[in-house]
Structure formats: C-alpha cells, structure tokens
Amino acid sequence: MLRKEHNDLLTQTGPGTPGGRLFRSYWIPALLAEELPDNECPPVRVKLLSERLLAFRDTEGRHGLIDEFCAHRGVSLWFGRNEEHGLRCPYHGWKYDYTGQCIEVPSEPVESGFCSKIKLKSYPLVERGGVLWTYMGPPAKQPPLPEWEFALVPHQRSFISKRLQECNWLQAMEGGIDSSHVSFLHRGELTSDPLFQGAKGNQYNLRDARPVFEVVESPGGLYVGARRNAENGHYYWRITQWVMPSFTMIPPRGDHPVHGHFWIPIDDENCWTWSFDYHPTRALTPDERQAMRDGKGIHVKYVPGTFRPRANKDNDYLIDRAAQKEGRTFSGVAGIAMQDASLQESMGPIVDRAKENLVSTDNGIIMARHRLLRAIRNLMENAVLPPGVDVSHQRVRSASLVLPPDQPFKEAGREALVVRPGVAHASV
C-alpha cells in the first residue's frame, strides 16, 4: 500500500514535478540510433517525460532534440524539411539548427538579427552503443555520459530494442524487480525460449517455486537476491540489479546473453520499455540475433512500422485460452515481454496503490519506492545528486551463482556483481 501523495510523487514525471526532476538528473535513452539512420533523414517525433520533442540528424550528422513546435505559429516541425544544416518549417520557412537556435526567418531582414532572438528548447542527444541518449536537466548539472556495459561493448555483442508500454513507468519497472512472479508467469518459457533454455539454473528455478529473498541496498539502488536450493546443501542465487531510477538487469542463464531493461516515461500513462541483450565476451550468434528479432526472450514482435507490440491491448494480447489451459503458457499470453506488459497494463494507466496488498516477498518493490522517495526528497530539499548518476553505479552486472549456505551473495559475488572487462558474466 502506498499513500496517494507518495504515489503521485513517484508516478508524475512531467516538467516541474519532483519525480520529473529526479528523471532529469540522468542520461536516459531517447531513441534507437537506427531511427535516425542518415544525415538529413526525416525527423522523428519523441515524447519524453511529458514533453513533445523532435529528433533529427543534420547535414553534418549532428543529432538534435528540440521542441516539436515552430516558435512562429506552433506548427509541428515533424513536417519540416531537413536540409542544409537545419530543419526548416514548411509553413513560412523558419529554420532551426540542431541546438534549437533559429537560423533563418525569411520574412525578416537578415540584418535585423531577429532570428537570433528565437530559440527552441533543446536537449543534448548523443549516440552510445546504438542508443541516442538525452539529458533533460539543467545544463550546469549535466553528468558524464552513461557507462552501462551493454552500451560500451562492441556492437556485435549486443542487441537493443524498445517497445511501447501503455501504462505508467513505475508499475512496469516494479515488475522488473519482482523476482517472485517468474516461477508462475514465465515458467513455460524457461524450457521453450531459445534464449533461456538449456541452462542448469533453470532446473533449480523449476524445482523450487518458493524462493527466499534477500534485498540489500547497493550504491546505485538494490541487489535483489533470490535463493533456491541446489545440491549438497548449497544455494542457487539469482541476483538482480536495480539502479536508480529505472534500470534493471536480470540474472543470466548459462552462456546465454545477459539482459535487462530501462523504463522511461513517455508521459504519466505510457512508457518506453527498453530491452537489451549482450554478452560481455563474445559476439551474439546469428541464431541468437534472429531469435531476438523474432520477439523471443525479453523482446517482442511489432505492429509493422511501429514500436507497438503486435500483441497489444487492442487485440486482447492475442490471449490463447487453450494454451493457458494446457499449460503451454501460464497466462495464455505468449512471450515474456507481453506476459508482463499485458498484466501491468491491465492495472490501468496509473495503478492505485492505495488498494494493493503487498506481502513480505514484495520488499524489493517496497525498498525501491523507499529509495526513490528518499532520493526525491534529498534532491528537492538539499540538491543532493541521486544514486545512479555516478557512472561507478552503472558499472554493474547481475549474476547467478551456486554458493555454500554460509556465504552471503553480496560478499561471495563481489566480483561477479561489477563489470570486469574481458571476463564473462557469472552464470549457472
């Protein structure tokens, strides 16, 4: 249960809101680099943190993320002409460069310098690891570029996708730190999904549906450890990383690529679910890459030409009641991503947490909310930089380990839980 005023603080991320100020402390993923494939390619509408923006790539390959609307009469610059170092409004020819600075107002004498007085709001847009990242906070407080491992490995080793999720970011993100649902909702995929199957750890998962949890604060967020019984009195640990505000990394299985998510608010009732897979030490195989394109693992198939999942609320997520009854899928919805998204969207655009009844295995969620609220308070009252901005908080890995019963995962997994260049992730 969460009081309404706290729910509002966490779920509202528009300009001027405390939660919005928190998100505006970080570099966040804005677009896939492939959405702006060429210089002078068509611009792309982007809505982030309840702000309507336009992304474009100019003649010299510089990326711009600017207010979507022309300062003159409010026309959407999505109709603009991307030409000769700027984006020109087709209505009266006003032209803007990648910083949002107006560089031409054809109706005014050049000598008047009128155009220098016009500037659209803009944010930096920087490519790293196949993702275009933006920082929407005060320029004076712009942090160093993000150093998530998935964005730093050679591109042959990673696969990144995004999908529209039609609910508030928090209820989507909370699914990422709720390890206890896996043994139910996703149990069919452990044996059938090509990106999961075959790992020894799957056997521990399927044999023990009642894991014991340990939640430990980390510098950037939380370690959420799920413990199951293994052989000879040992424990099989799956350790999820959550880094503030909305990064999660799922424990790996065997030598499969490791994966995780970012949940980024579009507005208060929609978010982008970013999904990444990477292997720290080898290129993804053609089969793995094809499986990801086919919507396996944590990825989805799309409505063609969009980032909306093919199974979505308009078609009841293609629910298959026969598959549900026969146990091929637990909920009747196919695929891990849409199994999660269908249930999270069913809560409504912003779930009323005053009605929920959490239990003690939900402590990961409770602690995440606690840390987010504390970070918002510290930021608003004392301008304290929130956890997760520091790049050292971003150099983390999830892990799966088999440990003797007396070894705490945080100590035993000390090396496994941080990035070690050239060393594979710790996985069972």
């Binding site: 340990e214 939640v215 009323d352 409770i366 602690m367 909310r369 606690h370 007396d406 705490p408 100590e411």
Partner: protein, 170 residues
C-alpha cells in the same frame, strides 16, 4: 473497435474500480533482537498508529534446552518490560518481523524462527545500519538471520521499517 482489454484498462474505466476495502487488518509482530534495534522499535512505536505489536527479545535465553530441543517457553517482553510468551504472541500472527542491527548478536532469531516455523507464521528480518557497518559485520548478522527469515532486507536507514510496515498495511 476497441477490444475489451483496451476499454477496461483506460483511465475512464479505472474510476469504476470497487472502492470497498479488499482486505482485513493484518496482525504483525515486530521484534527487536538487540539493544540498538530496541531503541529504533521504541521510537517507531511512539509514532506508529497501526495494528503492529512491538516486542523485545532481549530477555531470550538462546541456548538450546536439554536434548538439543529449543524451548518454546522463553519470553519476550513488550516495550514496557512486561513479559510475553513467545507462542502466545505468534499465535494467529500474519507476519513476524525481526529487527536486528548489523554487527550485533542476532542469535535470538533462532528461537523465534523455530517457533514461527512450527506455527507456520511468515517471517521477515530487517537488518538496520547496513550502510555504516563493515561487510563482515553485516555478513555475520545476515548469517544468523538467514535460516529463519523467508525475506531478509538490509537497510541503511532506520526509517525503512515505518515505510515497510505501512506498505504491508501493518
């Protein structure tokens, strides 16, 4: 043409979610296992306007009794120092939360955990001061709690307990 899922998950439809209470109050016991935790629990009890009961395990005899059996007759005490029978306290409880401090002795967890196990009462343990403690101190306390807690949380700030109890409707 909207599907049933699209219509049902809209903001407009959210207004029609039934507003009656969907749960009854839970019976939660919060037990401090050491002196620093006792101070935290006492402060919490002053501000907590809820159904949680706050207890202290400092009076525990933690050694196994004859034959290696743990006695269930040992006592807790309430915050006023009145003795309480362990089994009486956990009878009918929905959840027992053990509160410990990193680096302190949490051996009382064994007795409480054993009793809860026999009575099928869910247990959680909360280790406070994890931010300031050394890894070794934290590990020692976690090791004492691990066999007896189905949920184990290491928190850096004392105010997490209040947030947790509120979230659990305690």
């Amino acid at each position: 043409m909207h599907s049933e899922s699209a219509r049902a998950s809209s903001a407009a439809e959210a207004r029609f979610r039934i507003d009656d209470p969907n749960s009854r109050p839970r019976l939660v016991k919060v037990v401090a296992l050491d002196r620093p935790s006792q101070a935290v629990v006492e402060r919490l009890a002053q501000h907590q306007c809820s159904g949680a009961t706050f207890l202290i395990a400092s009076a525990f005899a933690v050694e196994p009794q004859g034959g290696g059996q743990l006695s269930m007759q040992n006592r807790l005490s309430d915050l006023a120092g009145h003795p309480k029978q362990l089994l009486d306290e956990i009878n009918g409880a929905d959840l027992l939360v053990m509160v410990a401090t990193a680096g302190e002795d949490a051996s009382a967890a064994a007795m409480i955990g054993e009793a809860c196990s026999r009575k099928h009462v869910m247990t959680s343990a909360l280790v406070l001061g994890s931010g300031a403690a050394t890894d070794a101190a934290l590990a020692k306390t976690l090791a004492q709690l691990r066999p007896w807690a189905l949920m184990l949380v290491a928190a850096s700030s004392d105010d997490y307990i209040a947030d947790m109890l509120s979230a659990l409707r305690a």
